[in-house]
Symmetry: C2
Subunit: 194 residues, 2 copies
C-alpha cells in the first residue's frame, strides 16, 4: 500500500521542513543569533541531539539544500545552447533561483542573511561551491581550452556574476522588496562591462 517507496523518507522530509518552519518563526521573532538550537528543538518537539540529525548546523536551517540547488543551476547552464554567450547563459541559469512562489519568505530569508554574520559567511561559501560547479561550462563558453582544474578566468567570471546576484538581492532587500531584482542584476553586470 506504499504509495511511494519510502514512507520513512517522507516522514523524514516532513519533520525536516517542520523544524525549518519552526526555526524561521523563532528567527523572525528574536533574530538568528539570539535563537539557540535548544530553543528550536524544544519548539519543534524533538531533542537537541535529534535536531543535529536533521541539520548539520544552525545555518543549514536557512541555507537549505545548497549543493542540490547548485547542481540544478549547473544543469540549466549546460542545457543552454552551446553558442550562447557566457554572460547570457549564466544569467539564464541563475534565474533558476527565482522561487517566485513566496516573495515574503524570500525577503525574510535575505534579511536574515544580512543581519547574521555567520549566515553571510555560509552564503558566501555556498557561492564558492557554485563557482566550482559552474566554472567548467563557462570556461568552454569563453573559448578557453578545457583543463583539469578550472581556469582562473572562468572562476573569476562566475564569481563576478554571483557578486552581481548578491548585490542585486541585497539592494532588493534594502528596498523592502520593492523594485525588480533582475533589473538590478542586469544593471550591475552592465556596470562591470562598461
Amino acid at each position: 500500500m506504499a504509495s511511494t517507496p519510502n514512507l520513512r523518507e517522507r516522514t523524514r522530509r516532513a519533520v525536516r521542513s517542520e523544524i525549518a518552519a519552526t526555526a524561521m518563526r523563532l528567527f523572525a521573532e528574536q533574530g538568528f543569533e539570539a535563537t539557540t538550537v535548544d530553543q528550536i528543538a524544544a519548539a519543534a518537539g524533538i531533542s537537541r541531539r535529534s535536531f543535529f540529525h536533521y541539520f548539520g548546523t544552525k545555518e543549514d536551517l536557512v541555507l537549505g539544500d545548497t549543493a542540490g540547488l547548485g547542481e540544478s543551476i549547473r544543469d540549466v547552464l549546460e542545457a543552454r545552447p552551446a553558442e550562447e554567450s557566457a554572460w547570457s547563459a549564466l544569467r539564464a541559469a541563475l534565474m533558476t533561483l527565482r522561487s517566485g512562489d513566496d516573495p515574503a519568505a524570500d525577503l525574510a530569508h535575505a534579511r536574515l542573511c544580512r543581519e547574521a554574520p555567520s549566515l553571510r559567511a555560509r552564503k558566501l561559501e555556498k557561492y564558492l561551491h557554485w563557482q566550482e560547479l559552474l566554472a567548467p561550462d563557462v570556461q568552454r563558453r569563453l573559448g578557453l581550452p578545457a583543463t583539469e582544474a578550472p581556469d582562473p578566468r572562468a572562476r573569476a567570471f562566475v564569481s563576478a556574476a554571483l557578486s552581481c546576484l548578491d548585490v542585486a538581492v541585497e539592494a532588493w532587500c534594502e528596498a523592502d522588496g520593492e523594485g525588480d531584482p533582475v533589473r538590478l542584476f542586469d544593471e550591475a553586470v552592465a556596470a562591470l562591462r562598461a
Copy 2:
C-alpha cells in the same frame, strides 16, 4: 628614557606578533583546525584568557588587521587621479596588498585560507567590508551620482574586482608561488570585460 611615548603599546605589539608567529608555526605543523587555542596560548607562554585579549578570534591570527588594510587601500584609491578609470584606479589601489617582502609567508598564508573553511569565510567577510569602503570612490569614477548607501552597481564593481584578486591569489597558490599574480589578476579582469 621612553624612546617612544608608549612602552605599554610597544610590548603589547611585540607580544601580539610573537603569539601570531608561534601560532603560524603550529598551523604549519598541524594545520589550522587541528590546532587549538589552548595549544597556542601554552606555546606562547600565556594563559588562554590572555590570548583572547590579543586576538578576538582564532582566525584573527591569520587575517590580521583587515580593517586597517582596507582603509589604506581606500586611501590609495582616493589619492588616484580623479579622471582615472574605475578599473585602473582600483587595480592600482589593490596593489597595496603586495607585501612583497616575504613571499614564502604570503604563500603559507594563502594555503591556510584554502584549507580551513572558517578562514575562507572570514576572508570573504573581510572583502565584504572592503567593498563598503571602496564603493563610494568607485561610484564617483563610474559617473554615478553620490548616494547615502553605495549604489549596487558600484558595490558589484568592487566585488567583482575582489573576486578577480581572490581567484588570482588562489591560482598563484595552487601553482606553488610560480607565475605572476598581477598578470593573473589582469587576465581575470579581461575575461569579464571581453
